[in-house]
C-alpha cells in the first residue's frame, strides 16, 4: 500500500486554475522530486498537502486514511486539521525559523507543546522534556550543528538556518517530509551543505517530496520524478523523466538546464 495517495486534486485562485487533476502516489521510503518552472503549481501542491491551502476538489490519503476529501465535509473539520497535518513536515524556502528562539529551542518548541497533551505529562513533565531536548540535540548533531545549539537564527548563515529548519521538521516525526525549494533562498556556496543533509535523509529512506530546481540533485536522490507545467502533471515516473523525457514540454523545460 502506498504511504501517500493524491487523487484528482484541483485548486483555483479566483479564476486561475493552479492545480488541475493532480494524481500521484508515493511508497514508503521513496523520495519524489517535483520539477517544473515557477508558477507551475508545485508549491501550491505542497501547501495543499500541508493544509495551508484547501483544494477545491480531490482527495488526499496517508497510509490508507483519508485526510482530505473535498466531497466529504466531515474531513474538512478545522479541529482535526491540526492532528492531520502532523503526517506531513514542511521545510520552507525562506526557513521561517522563529527568531526569538535559539536553534535548539526552535527544534524543541513544537514537540514540547504537543507533549503537554499527553495524559502522563503532569507527573513526568521533567522526564518528557529532557527526552525532547536530548532528541533535539541529536537532530542538530546529525545536521552538523552541535556547536550552534545556542545560536539565534540571525547569528546563523542561511545554510545553517535551513538545516535547523530541517531538524525542526524532523522533530515532529512526519510520515512524509516536504521541501519547498529548500536551497532557492541560499547563496550558491551554501546550497551544498543543505543538499548533503537531504541526501543523507534519502539514504536513510526518509519518505520525502522535494520541490527543486537542482536537476542534478533531483536525479541523484529521487526514486520518483514529477514534472509539472501550468497546473498539470505533464509527466511522472522514475528518474527517466529527467534522463529520457517522453513529453515535448518536459524536454523543453529540461533543455533550459543543460549546460
Amino acid at each position: 500500500m502506498s504511504i501517500l495517495e493524491v487523487r484528482n486534486l484541483e485548486k483555483h485562485f479566483n479564476k486561475t486554475k493552479v492545480l488541475n487533476d493532480i494524481s500521484l502516489s508515493l511508497e514508503q521510503g521513496q523520495a519524489l522530486s517535483m520539477i517544473g518552472s515557477s508558477g507551475s503549481g508545485k508549491t501550491t501542491l505542497l501547501r495543499c498537502l500541508n493544509f495551508l491551502e484547501t483544494p477545491d476538489s480531490g482527495s488526499i490519503a496517508v497510509k490508507g486514511e483519508v485526510l482530505f476529501d473535498a466531497a466529504d465535509p466531515a474531513t474538512r473539520r478545522e479541529a482535526d486539521v491540526r492532528r492531520k497535518r502532523l503526517h506531513f513536515g514542511l521545510v520552507f524556502q525562506s526557513f521561517n525559523l522563529f527568531p526569538q528562539y535559539t536553534a535548539l529551542q526552535n527544534v524543541t518548541l513544537a514537540p514540547e507543546l504537543l507533549a503537554r497533551e499527553r495524559p502522563d505529562y503532569k507527573e513526568r513533565k521533567r522526564e518528557i522534556n529532557a527526552a525532547i531536548e536530548a532528541e533535539g540535540r541529536e537532530l542538530l548533531a546529525s545536521m552538523g550543528l552541535s556547536d550552534r545549539e545556542g545560536h539565534y537564527p540571525h547569528q546563523l548563515s542561511g545554510g545553517q538556518q535551513q538545516r535547523v529548519a530541517i531538524a525542526r521538521a524532523l522533530a515532529m516525526h512526519p510520515d512524509i517530509l516536504c521541501f519547498d525549494e529548500p536551497t532557492s533562498a541560499l547563496d550558491p556556496e551554501l546550497t551544498g551543505e543543505v543538499l548533503r543533509v537531504i541526501r543523507s535523509l534519502a539514504e536513510q529512506r526518509t519518505t520525502m517530496i522535494i520541490v527543486t530546481h537542482e536537476m542534478d540533485f533531483a536525479l541523484e536522490v529521487s526514486d520518483r520524478v514529477v514534472f509539472m507545467d501550468g497546473g498539470f502533471i505533464v509527466e511522472q515516473g522514475g528518474r527517466e523523466v529527467i534522463t529520457d523525457p517522453q513529453e515535448e514540454r518536459t524536454r523543453r523545460f529540461l533543455a533550459g538546464y543543460r549546460h
Binding site: G89, L90, N96, L97, P99, Q100, L109
Partner: protein
Amino acid sequence: MFETVISALNEGFVATLKLFFITLIGSIPLGLVICFGSMNRWAPLGFIGHRQASRRQRILAALEEGAAVSAEDGGRVLSESEARSLARRLGFWAAVFTGFRPISLLSRLVVWVIRGTPLMLQLLIIFYIPGYLLEGGSPWNFPEGRFVAAAIMFIFNYACYFSEIYRGGIQGVPVGQQEAGEVLGMTKGQIFRHVTLLQMIKRIVPPMANEVITLVKDTSLARIISYQEVIWAGYAFLKGSHNYSGLLWPLFFTGIYYLVFNGVVTFLLGRLERKLEFFR
C-alpha cells in the same frame, strides 16, 4: 510659600500618577481584546457567500467551456449575457455575505468613535450624562467618583489607540511565522503566545512609547471633571487657595513634574527596547 506650593503640587502629582498607572494597567490588556475583536473573522453569513461564490465559479467555468448555464430554479437555459450578469451579481453578494463580520465591524466602529472624538468630551459625557439619564442621579457621587469615571474613560480611550498599534504589530509579523507554527501542529493560541507575541511586542515598543508619553500629559484633561491632578493643583494657586491667590509660577512649575517623569518613562522603555534586541 515654596513648601506649601510644592506639597500641594506633590499631592496633585500623586493623583496624576494614579490615573496614569491605572490607565496603563487597564488599557494594555483591553487593547488586546479590542484588537482581537477588530481582527475577528467570524462571518455568520459566510456559508451563503461561499455557496454563491462556488456557483459563480461554476458558471464562469461553464461559460469558458461553452456549456449551457441554467437559471437558478434549474429550468430555463440562460443566454451568455444573462449568465454573465448572474455571475456578477453572485460575486457582489458573495463579497457582501463573506464580508459581514459583526464582531470586527462593531470593534472597528467603537475604535472609530473613540479615536474620532476628543477625550475631553468623552470625560464630560461619562461624568455628566448618566446623572441625567439614571433615576438615582449621578453614579459618581462617592469620594473617588471622579477618579473612577476618569479612569474608565481613559482606559477605554487608550485601549482603542493601543488596539490599532497591536494590530499593526501582529500584521507586521511575517505570515511564514504563522505557517511554520501551523505545519508543526501548534494551535492558534499556541502560535500567538509562543511565536507571534514576542515578535509583536518588539515591533510595538517604539509606537507604544509614544502613546505612553502622551498619556502622561493627557491625564491633565481629567481636571475638566474636577479631578484634582497636578495642573489643577497648580491652577488653584492662581485662582486662590492655601491663602495665596494670583500666583502664576506654580502652574508653570508643574511642567517640571511631567518632564522629569517622562524622562523616567523614556529611560525604562528604552531599556525594554534594548532588552528585545537579542533577536531580529
